[in-house]
Amino acid sequence: MNKHRTFQFLFAFLLASFVAVLMIPSPRVTAQQAAVYAIRNARIVTVTGQTIERGTVVIRDGKIAEVGASVSVPGNAKVIEGRGLSVYPGLIDSGTTLGLTEVGSVQETRDTTELGDFNPHMRALVAVNPHSELIPVARANGVTTALTSPTGRLMSGQASLINLDGWTWKEMALKPSVALAMEWPAAAAGRFAAFLPPEATQNLAQQRERQLTALRQKLDDAKAYAQAKEAREKDKSLPARPTDFVLEALIPVVKGEMPVIITASSERDIKGAIELADKYKLKLILRDADDAWKVASTLKEKNIPVIIGPVTEVPRREDDDYDLQYSHAAKLYKAGVRFAFQTSDAAYVRNLPFQAGTAAAFGLPKDEALKAVTIYPAQIFGVDKLVGSIEPGKIANLIVTDGDPLEFKTNVKHMFINGHPVDLSSRHTKLYDKFASRP
């Protein structure tokens, strides 16, 4: 394998001495070899600023060094000829289980859901498999960064923002712990509710109340724990408490330093989540939130962002508008609510651009659709100084495409993550190539 790679690099190097325009070698370029790259003569969609119809992006030491129409290409730069191509910031998926699961039905490959209701101390990042076959597939249509999140519990664990390239999860981490992922307890037994005897419905309601009571209790405990800890830091004569891992993990949450991402669908659940956030001064991000449009004015007033998606999910209620999910983003946009898109999955992250595009087919302005998979998630997760647009100083997470990245017919030609060119082949392209040429 190593020999093979070395050979390819040598080959690329030789090619460089003959041709001015370089192909990117397909294997990963390591930090030592990474030098300076320049994408020239390309259309540059910066997202936050003006689009440059023909310009150059210079990448140095993993960062975007220069962007502009009259930027000169440094002499030591590897050049990508961008004529006819466009440069966009890498896309960001605001909710996935990428790296935490491989094959849906094979329990042994799933690490999304720990036992128990309260897992604020569980960290997604440490369970991310950097060599998951799903990651190169996820990159295929331009996603460079994803929030990967534990799921399925009242407090599922800490979601992590990862770049989709790296030899280890440490190298992948963009922000190790972005938020505490929570799921609001279900109001009913879903589609079977009508078939349950009254006692069962009652039991579910009681269970939900128990869970919500326990939730408030846990947050009260965390506040008390934080106070006790602070007090002892000032006065060592106070008795020491043994570490409570759950409460320890909740300190940044109750202090409003770490946001909570609460999955809540119905209007009642969303209101419940908002009420809880108000009471405990939590920094709230809503997820799924099918009914968010019904409380849009509250969300705007309280500056609560919503992670929407999948846009292509079937509306839950029989009497919902047929395009309820398709047009949700447009409704939130008109109401001035902040939002971003998620695929809510691992195997289908590559469909993120189509989620955003479908929302645009149903009323969301196209540039807003693009922002909701680039700069908006960066803002929501507090990393907008690092990623989400093409600006000097930001991490060089970039894609070079032959068109609008939200369109089906567009192809991603090059991808940079942390300033390194990334291989765009995957299990899928390899199997395709192998069997398309079967005699």
Binding site: T97, T101, E102, V103, G104, S105, V106, T112, T113, E133, L134, V137, T151, G152, F192, A194, F195, L196, P197, P198, D288, P310, T312, E313, V314, P315, E318, D319, D321, Y322, D323, Y326, S344, D345, A346, A347, Y348, R350, N351, P353, F354, G357, T358, A360, A361, F362, K366, L406, E407, F408, K409, T410, N411, R427, H428, L431, Y432, F435, A436, R438
Partner: protein, 475 residues
């Protein structure tokens, strides 16, 4: 329930009012870009509809309508044939009769739910014909139904005219689940069901055909004796073996759920040995590995555009599958198997251009003419040709652009979905809903207490069988 009846009645009224004027008159769609699926794309084209059929299609200048024709100006719009979903589980009360490994006697046409809201939602996505199938829990499942999505009409009117008969087979993980303890049907203490392996699936199908042949021989002997003027005792009628006999007689087409290349070859091998044909391999996610063999058997392939990794046998699924099968000469379609994807088959088709380099027309055929061929209904539907049913979709842009959406869907010339009408109706529904709620509030406590419904054991949907599919959020 009341709420949904209210909505339904509104939709019904709307559909009937639209339907009323379209019954006999001519309709002309003009100035459209027409993607015919059979003979290329016509710019500045017109389609004349008469008595529910396509009377003419061509350039604006070549298509003439009578003076009373209703005219739809489709300037800037695209028209495609109504989309056809070769693998659906919508509009059904039940999906899996999972008690036995061979249930060839059950029929989905007996459990059509014509009030399923998914019918309307799929119409809104340009889908006009669907193939609701028995589930994949059994090696040989039940007989499927083909429906036209005539929302508001009774089930009998939705069933495709002179419907060709099809039957579901299933290979691989799903039919062997009930034979393993970790299966979703196994209540504690419930006995396991044969088969538990792919070996057992092969045997189960073989056994059924051998029994059917013996059964046919008994009937042949009986009929010969009757012909000779004897008075023999008739063999006992077996509805299960009747169905399998019909497969052998070519009256019932097999649509076989499958994933892996080995099981696809297994069924081809069995078919060759026992003398039957597989009409279409469904899902056929590894079809690209054995495309040569599928083509040689003459079977079609109906697959997903990009589903994968939700279970072990889907781990080698690739989004280039439809393209590779197409290039090997297999009649290929892209299907939904889900209430979600059935609303946007045009998007699923578009993905095959991206991942497999198909042309626009090849991609369009994956959701129109090709599934029509697989279901043997292509003489009536699947393309925009003179004489075919006027099942049409009008898109506000190129159907393979992410920014496009269907505006109007018609079946046999009748508009069953019109986005503008839908938007108007929403206000009416909201108003009536509000009034009803207020009336209920006023009468609070005076109504009859609602009787709890009896506890019915829910049956498993296909999504639950294949848990982790993309339209179910991962838990």
């Amino acid at each position: 329930m009341k709420k949904c009846h209210l909505v339904l009645s509104f939709l019904l009224i709307a559909v009937f009012s639209v339907a009323a004027y379209a019954q006999s008159d001519e309709t002309l769609i003009k100035n459209a870009t027409i993607m015919t699926a059979s003979h290329g794309t016509i710019e500045n084209g017109s389609i004349l509809i008469r008595n529910g059929k396509i009377a003419a299609v061509g350039k604006n200048s070549d298509v003439k309508a009578g003076p009373n024709a209703k005219v739809i100006d489709a300037t800037g719009m695209y028209v495609t044939p109504g989309l056809i979903d070769a693998h659906s589980h919508s509009a059904l009360d039940d999906v899996n009769e999972m008690s036995l490994s061979v249930t060839a006697m059950v029929r989905m046409r007996d459990v059509v739910n014509d009030t399923d809201i998914n019918i309307y939602r799929q119409l809104a996505g340009g889908t006009t014909t669907i193939h609701p199938m028995h589930g994949s829990a059994n090696s040989i499942g039940g007989q499927n139904v083909i429906l036209k999505l005539k929302w508001g009409r009774p089930a009998e009117e939705m069933i495709f005219p002179d419907m060709p008969r099809t039957i579901k087979f299933a290979l691989g993980e799903n039919p062997k689940r009930a034979g393993n303890s970790a299966n979703p049907f196994s209540a504690p203490g419930r006995p396991l069901r044969f088969p538990a392996t792919r070996m057992g699936v092969e045997f189960t199908i073989r056994e059924a055909f051998v029994q059917a042949k013996e059964y046919m021989a008994k009937w042949d002997a009986y009929e010969a004796a009757v012909k000779r003027g004897e008075n023999p005792l008739a063999p006992r009628r077996d509805l299960k073996l009747d169905a399998i006999s019909d497969i052998l007689r070519g009256r019932l087409s097999i649509h076989a759920h499958c994933y892996r290349a080995d099981e696809i070859l297994m069924l081809i091998n069995l078919a060759d040995e026992l003398g039957f044909k597989v009409t279409t391999f469904q899902h056929v996610l590894e079809g690209y590995k054995v495309a040569k063999e599928i083509a040689a058997h003459g079977a079609g392939g109906s697959t997903f555009s990009d589903w994968w990794a939700y279970k072990m046998e889907a781990f080698d699924a690739i989004p280039g599958n439809a393209a590779i099968m197409t290039r090997r000469g297999i009649i290929t379609s892209v299907n939904s198997d889900s209430a979600d994807l059935a609303r946007r088959l045009y998007q699923e088709a578009a993905k095959t251009i991206k991942y497999g380099g198909l042309t626009d027309e090849e991609a369009l055929r994956l959701v129109t003419l090709n599934p029509a061929k697989q279901l043997k209904i292509d003489t009536r539907v699947g393309s925009i040709d003179e004489g075919k049913d006027a099942d049409l979709v009008i898109f506000n842009g190129h159907p393979f652009s992410i920014y496009s959406r269907p505006e109007v869907t018609m079946i046999e010339g009748v508009v069953y979905f019109d986005r503008r009408e839908d938007l108007k109706r929403r206000e009416l529904i909201a108003k009536e809903k509000k009034e009803l709620i207020e009336r209920e509030k006023k009468n609070a406590g005076q109504g009859q207490p609602q009787q709890p419904m009896p506890a019915l054991p829910p049956t498993l949907s296909e999504e639950e069988l294949d848990h982790g599919k993309p339209d179910r959020k991962q838990q």
